[in-house]
């Protein structure tokens, strides 16, 4: 990364008749390791580095990027971005909300520096999972394991005087297993993510987690019963609480979606001005508070300043069951007459920053998990999920249980095969009558934007207890 070229690009842009100009340089030292059945399929290592120029001129936005670090190229991309901004020919002129320039540097600490971990150790650490699975006595015909390391350096400067440097090491892993028993198969995957150093692996406990999943899948094939469809109580584990928080709270609360900017791809929202749901409308019970918080230390979605240079903070999306605060970037904030709350993210120098979640989770309550369950006479405990999806207005969703158990008179009994809840956002969150006090997180990659930008996030929460919902 050459900050001088980035500064030069900003000066070039400021020399034109622009309302706003910004240069975001983004360098990533990447390592990707792929194993099939415990054997290294490929090891990919690369450095990707470039910068973009984003300009507002005549009320339109132009964006151009390059991975050539020369002043000549900088001037060229400025010219393209400026030309594109002017060509928008918009009736409604675009502006950003006002922000003060910020000059700062921030980094994420590593206890065990990834840079000092040799490739041999990276491979052997990942291969531990397969060794543990092989010793589990579960028949596992296929596994797919990958690990990605991304050392991210950013440098953001804009025409308002901001100059922000950052360094964030991100490490992620993904494991997919197929279990076969009695001529049938079941599948599961787990994703892990962390902002920080190699100490991530000791926190994740991947081998233990995957062996647990393998045994659960074996039980699903050999022991589980199907649920008798009907209205019953449902206790959702933190993994299910997290996906629901992400899909049916985080996404519909993205202001660009609410304003229609994602209408063609990621869709719109059930929340819109003049509609039945808006700020202050009840969407869940008082037990439900869902936040999005980039400042959770070492989280996969961690950042201190967003990709428009706005300071990050916790956002209360649903607060005690009421729609409370949208996720905003500077463009959406200006349209809605509010301040940005630092939700603008981009995965690389060649992608525009758009409104994104960071770490979305349900805040904890007072009860233990056991206390939640012991008050259920007849129900299902859906600890984790397999298939899930939600419509593009973020209202009709479905979660299919992976690890699930019958609850009878306050006790967990038989495993249940693939219980399904297919319900609306309103019904789901309104049915929650209690949440447990221990929050757990899962790593995920959130998809949005065109071209698609998969950003690292956490989803999470405590256990939720839903009363009398339809489970099949």
């Amino acid at each position: 990364m050459d900050e001088e070229v980035a500064d030069f690009a900003l000066e070039c842009a400021r020399g034109k008749k622009v309302e706003y100009a910004e240069v975001r340089a983004h360098s990533q030292v990447q390592d990707g390791l792929m194993l099939r059945n415990g054997v290294v399929e490929a090891y990919v290592s690369a450095v990707d580095s470039g910068f973009n120029v984003r300009i507002i001129a005549e009320g339109g936005i132009g964006f151009a990027s390059t991975n050539k670090w020369t002043k000549e190229e900088a001037r060229a991309v400025v010219n393209v971005a400026f030309k594109y901004a002017k060509s928008a020919n918009r009736k409604e002129k675009l502006v950003f909300n006002e922000e003060k320039g910020v000059k700062t540097k921030w980094v994420v600490d590593q206890k065990k520096k990834i840079e000092n971990v040799p490739p041999e150790e990276r491979i052997s650490t990942l291969a531990e999972v397969n060794k543990a699975l092989a010793a589990s006595k579960v028949k596992i015909p296929a596994t797919m394991t990958s690990c990605s390391i991304n050392l991210i350096t950013k440098y953001i400067v804009n025409s308002e005087g901001s100059r922000i440097s950052s360094y964030v090491p991100k490490i992620g892993a993904f494991i997919f297993i197929t279990v076969a028993e009695q001529g049938k198969t079941e599948q599961a995957y787990e994703q892990f993510g962390y902002s920080g150093g190699w100490e991530a692996f000791s926190k994740w406990k991947m081998p233990e987690k995957m062996v647990h999943d393998a045994k659960v899948l074996k039980d699903v094939i050999t022991k589980a019963k199907t649920v008798k469809p009907g209205n019953m109580d449902l206790v959702c584990g933190s993994e299910v609480a997290g996906i629901a928080a992400h899909e049916s709270c985080g996404h519909p609360m993205e202001a660009d979606r609410i304003l229609g900017r994602e209408m063609s791809q990621a869709g719109r929202s059930f929340i819109y001005k003049g509609g039945p749901y808006w700020l202050g409308t009840r969407i869940g019970s008082k037990a439900v508070t869902v936040v999005d918080d980039p400042t959770v230390e070492h989280s996969y979605g961690y950042y201190l300043y967003d990709d428009e240079g706005v300071k990050a903070r916790r956002r209360f999306l649903y607060k005690e069951g009421l729609i409370n605060e949208f996720l905003q970037n500077r463009e959406s904030a200006a349209k809605l007459g509010v301040k940005s709350n630092g939700s603008s993210r981009s995965i690389n120098y060649d992608r525009e920053a758009i409104v994104r979640m960071a770490n979305t989770f349900v805040l904890p309550g007072e009860l233990t998990e056991e206390e939640l369950i012991e008050d259920v006479k007849d129900g299902v405990y859906m600890k984790s999920f397999t298939e899930w999806n939600i419509d593009d207005k973020r209202f009709n969703q479905r979660y299919v249980g992976r690890e699930a158990y019958q609850i009878e008179n306050g006790e967990l009994t038989d495993p249940v095969a693939r219980p399904v809840i297919e319900t609306t956002t309103l019904k789901f969150w309104t049915a929650v009558d209690a949440v447990s006090k221990k929050v757990e997180f899962d790593a995920a990659t959130c998809g949005k934007g065109d071209p698609s930008q998969g950003v690292p996030v956490y989803t999470g929460g405590p256990c939720l207890r839903l009363r009398r919902v339809f489970v099949k």
């Binding site: 792929m34 690369a46 490739p119 209408m263």
Partner: protein, 441 residues
């Protein structure tokens, strides 16, 4: 052009000199442009210029790869890669990169797609076409995307070549009411065949028909799939034919070679032909691409291979090598004999689905999945498209649905949409019997 090929060949030679057993280098000089629009206005216009060389090398069956963005740093990158190979682990199933010396046809890329003079005009043309169909109050959004790539490939195993690849795509979603929308796409490899108004008109037409939707009933329906939603299904089926998907058991086609997986009327091919957005004359190992029939009259004939997976399956590469794994390029379903109108006429009571998103599996080896239709969903009664519906989910199984295809139209459309209908495909309308639909309770 020859200069870039020479530089790419030098990378290959350098890696060999440093001890690599086999090397492939692929340099891409790409220009990508996009206009994003919503609420009938342009939100942002974007240009990406990318210069990169992908390098994959093998040393004693250890496979490593990198991407080089700066030719000045080639020596250091290759040395680092060799070092990495030497401490990586052997992959016993690695069968080597493709060998041979090939001649490639000249790519038919359209240089006009390097830089459109006024890209926003195509957007406005599509928006106006949507308005013409559904009225001036229609609310449209989408993207215009163009790609132009010069690709230079050099392999230590013989293949060396130059290709140019171009594509243009317009995707538009139009809303006539808050919950009434239509989606149209126009996908081409050249500007001369590109008619953005077609996409706009289709989006507008569906949006108009979709007004006043009612919540659909759960049940089992005969369903006509529009080419756009059919493209989503073809993308899933095509991905499952990759030999890699078979190896990791994310495919319903494991152990199905030579077996019937669809009715006799169904033939599916992979074909990165000149018309396709995925046009290319060679794959990432330098093997000439070709049309591969993978389901022939209902029988699974082959998986899609690179040289290494082909060796594992004791067959020949199909020219589907990506940098590491085999991948489908462009899925085609062979046209049927009935017209689209005849398909509709033969449905007494069913559904017409136009688009979908969020296809997710419970078990991709078994094929159980659900997906959420969006944009126009319609009842078909006595052959006529009628009441607009909403809030339905398709919950079924890949093999069951493939087996229940009962009619294929002769009209086909080249479609691609975001990650939802990807890779591109050439899709007819199809009628599938007994499809399970569910909704929220």
């Amino acid at each position: 052009m020859t200069d870039m090929l020479s530089k790419t060949e030098e990378i290959t030679k350098k890696a060999k000199t440093l001890g690599a057993d086999q090397v492939i280098a692929k340099t891409t000089v790409g220009k990508y442009r996009q206009v994003r629009f919503s609420n009938n206005q342009v939100d942002i216009t974007v240009a990406w210029n990318d210069y990169s060389t992908d390098v994959a090398l093998a040393w004693k069956k250890r496979v490593v790869a990198t991407t080089i963005h700066n030719f000045d740093g080639v020596d250091a990158s290759i040395k680092q890669l060799i070092k990495l190979a030497k401490i990586s682990q052997e992959n016993p199933t690695f069968g080597g990169f493709a060998q041979g010396s090939f001649r490639y046809p000249k790519g038919k890329a359209d240089r006009k797609l390097e830089e459109l003079e006024k890209p926003t005009e195509y957007v406005f043309e599509a928006i106006e076409a949507a308005k013409k169909e559904a009225g001036g109050k229609i609310d449209s959004g989408g993207i215009l995307f163009t790609k132009f790539e010069d690709v230079y490939l050099a392999s230590s195993e013989g293949p060396a070549g130059v290709d140019s690849r171009s594509a243009i795509e317009l995707s538009i979603r139009a809303f006539s009411e808050r919950e009434a929308s239509g989606h149209g796409v126009e996908c081409c490899s050249t500007l001369k065949d590109f008619k953005p108004a077609r996409a706009g008109a289709k989006a507008g037409k569906i949006a108009k028909l979709a007004k006043g939707p009612k919540v659909g009933d759960e049940g089992v329906y005969d369903v006509i799939f529009d080419p756009l939603i059919h493209g989503s299904l073809l993308g899933v089926w095509g991905g499952m034919v990759s030999a890699y998907s078979v190896l990791v058991q994310t495919s319903v086609f494991v152990d199905k070679l030579g077996k019937r997986v669809a009715p006799q009327t169904i033939t599916l091919k992979d074909n990165p032909a000149a018309y396709s957005m995925s046009n290319r004359v060679f794959d990432d190992e330098g093997v000439p691409t070709e049309m591969n029939t993978f389901i022939d009259h209902g029988v699974l004939k082959t998986y899609l291979h690179n040289a290494s997976t082909a060796k594992m399956f004791k067959t020949k590469t199909t020219g589907n090598a990506g940098l590491i794994y085999p991948t489908p390029w462009n899925i085609e379903m062979e046209a049927g004999e009935a017209s689209k109108d005849e398909l509709f006429a033969n449905v007494k009571r069913g559904l017409y689905l136009t688009n979908t998103w969020y296809t997710r599996f419970q078990n991709s080896a078994k094929g159980d999945f659900s997906t959420i239709p969006r944009d126009g969903i319609f009842m078909i009664e006595k052959g006529e498209v009628g009441q607009s519906l909403k809030d339905l989910r398709l919950s079924d199984n890949v093999l069951t649905m493939l087996g229940n295809i009962s009619a294929v139209s002769k009209e086909r459309q080249h479609v691609h949409w975001w990650g939802e209908a990807d890779p591109p495909s050439l899709a007819p309308y199809i009628l599938i019997k007994n499809v399970h639909m569910t909704h929220s309770k």
